[in-house]
Every structure is written in C-alpha cells, then in structure tokens.
Symmetry: C2
Subunit: 225 residues, 2 copies
C-alpha cells in the first residue's frame, strides 16, 4: 500500500478501474454521459448508478455550458454544497449556494406550514430562475421545483439534478420531475428509484464542473470521459 | 403523494420500511447495532450495508457514552462535518470539527510531502487524543490514525468510524484499521469493502448522537432501534 500517491493519480487509477469493470459488466455508457456516471460510481462504489441515472438528451453539455458561463448551483443541503469542488467552480467563475440554514427560510416554512427545503427552493427560484438546481435530500424540494415550472413561465433552470434518497415519496418525486422537465424542455439528471444522496448530487455537479473547466481550457485535465 | 408530511414522520415511516425489508431479507441485526445500520441504509437506500458494516463489540454504547459526555467528533472532510446533526450535538454539548481546509494543514502536508487528510489527522490526534474520529473519504487518513495508535500510547480515540469509499487502497486501509483497533482495544465501526462515503460517516455519527441524546433524555425520540 503506497501512502504517498497523489490524489490525482488515485483518481485516475480509480476511474480506469471503473471503466474496466463497466466493460466487464457489459455496460456501454453514452460517451457524453460517461463522465457523470463514472464520477457517481467513483463517489459511491455502487455500480447500480450505471443503470439508475436518467440523463436527458444533451443535459451534460447544456449543464457544463451553463457552468462555463458562471451559472450558480443551488443545493438543497449544506452537505451537498460542501461537496461541490470550490477550485473547479473558481475556474468557471461560478458559485454554489444553499438557503436551507437561513433564519428567513425557517420562518417562511413555519408560516406556510411546509418544509425548509420547499421554502428554500421558492426563494432560490425567485432569485435564480435560470440557475442550476441540485437536490440530494428532500423530495419536497423536487415537488416545489415542479410546481414552480408549472406556475411560473420565467422559471426555466439551466439544469435540475434530482437525486434525493429514501423510502417515502422519493421514487414518485423523481418520476414527476422527469415528466415535468420533459414537458418544459428543462435539462434533467435524476437517479431513478430509491438511491441518491447529497454525495451523489455533489458528484454530478463536480463532473459537470470538470467538463466545463475542460471546455474553458482543454489542457486542463484529460482523464474525463 | 402527501407534500406536507413532517420530516420526523417520514423518518419514522422510512425506518419501519427498512426494518420490514431487513426481515424479508432474513437479516437479523444485533439490537445494539441496529440504530447505526438502519440509519446508514436510510442515508444510502443501500441494503449492502446490513452486511458490510463491522462494529466492534460495545462500539455503539461506548461511542454514544463518549458523545453524551461532550466528546468532540473530528471528520476528514467538511462534507461529513456538514452532515452531522447540529441540533443533536447541541443536546450532547459536543461539537464537530474538521481541519482539512486550514491553511496551516495545507502547509504541513506540503512540507511533509503527504495529503492534507494525513496532516489534518496528525493535528487532530495531538489536540484530541481521546476524541471520536470519523473518516468518510481519505484512506490515507485511516493509515495515519493507525500509525498514531502504534506510535503514541496517549492516542486512544473513544471511537474510530472508518468508512472511506473507493477503488484504490480503500479496502486495505479499512482492514488495517480494524486490525489495529483490535490490537489497542479502540472501538471501531468500519464499512468493509469499497463502499462508504462522507454521507455514511455522517449517518453513523448521527445514529450515535441520537442514541446519546436518548441516554441523556429517554423521552427524547423513541423510534431508535
């Protein structure tokens, strides 16, 4: 066991192991989607995501292009926010925001008899109607995003990442998300079924950030895809 | 789909679904360990953890008792730190710390030619030799903890949570951790194999925090176990 291997070397080795094991499993990824799927497997060591991830046509390119223009990412938890690569974002000139812990959001949730996740989404939707929304925890946040898309013609996110995890309302919330995004031509990446999480949300954002950084500077990394 | 269900109700329903599905799978958990295993499944929707988690005898009770005395948790990533329940910790009078992002740690890592994770562990080990250490990301952090246990007789953590995820050095680092903890009678919870993550580290800490809060106030929750 070599202790002094550089993190970047370990990442490259890990991704090549993942590529080989996907081949052995007979799974061929769409080249455009491969960086996202592989990074989620890298984050979870769970090959189920090779089958679970729904990625609408062009979503990776559109999400990365939005990031390359400095579009902000809004997450539903501070945990997902903490997992988004700050050096990567800095290269794109973007930022990652989360309104969950704001006293104003807690107050709005209380008044409306809803969750803080919903109140945080409503605030973010008003502030960033064409932002990138990443939900790794709260199915109610996804439902609120669907409601906003239905009711507000100005709310058209550059991308929605919908990967809450869990056993209650989660599967249905992701199915509704995909349907609603399709209706309004909003790019979407969702983990169908029960699985997902803040780590998965952050991993998907990071794959898009690295793709955006490659767009801005093609000499940047090189292992992606 | 009911949008206005309270988070606490959803959690209770989720845990009862997990309990039923574990029964259907023929998996009987040790009653003491059940809160930890179920919370990890709740966080990942991945029943593999019912088999992957190694929990040394008494580790749950010892970890919870340490938390109930206000023992700090030190994590290897800010993402794991963000996932640890602050209201729960407040009930125990404890805190959660992470040294990864400190400029001093980056400097020490550069000088020693090692990872920031290792430098952060070395700093934390000196400051909190009987703290709770939770590693969800860096196998090098686990190796550093093992080295500290071997070389420093004062370094005897109240508990080590060792759940890094990945494809390179990860499996071996967790095997060495379990062996070294056994040698020095240090309580340990580890996710054997490749799986784990910052979310899993946080989930294990939270299960212990809720157990500690129940110890301090038995009327507190009630669903645990």
């Amino acid at each position: 066991m070599t202790e002094h291997k550089l993190p970047a070397d370990i990442e490259r080795t890990s991704l090549s192991i993942i590529t080989k094991e996907l081949e052995a499993l007979g799974i061929a990824l769409e080249p455009e989607n491969a960086p996202v799927v592989k990074r989620v497997i890298h984050t979870t060591a769970d090959f189920d995501y090779a089958k679970n991830l729904y990625i609408s046509s062009g979503a990776v390119a559109l999400g990365a292009a939005a990031l390359a223009k400095g579009t902000p990412i809004i997450t539903d938890t501070n945990m997902a926010r903490a997992g988004v690569s700050k050096p990567g974002l800095a290269k794109c000139g973007g930022e990652v925001l989360c309104f969950m812990a704001e006293p104003e959001v807690a107050e709005a949730a209380k008044l409306a008899g809803t969750t803080r996740a919903v109140a945080a989404v409503k605030k973010a939707a008003a502030m960033y109607p064409t932002g990138i929304f990443a939900v790794g925890n709260a199915p109610t946040a996804l439902l609120a995003l669907c409601e906003e898309m239905e009711n507000n013609p100005d709310f058209r996110p550059a991308l929605i990442v919908g990967v809450p995890v869990g056993f209650v309302n989660v599967v249905e919330s992701k199915e509704l998300l995909v349907k609603t995004c399709r209706k309004f031509s909003v790019p979407v990446i969702a983990a169908m079924g029960r699985k997902g999480g803040s780590n998965v949300a952050a991993a998907i954002c990071n794959a898009l950030i690295y793709t955006a950084a490659d767009m801005l500077d093609p000499t940047n990394r090189g292992w992606q895809g």
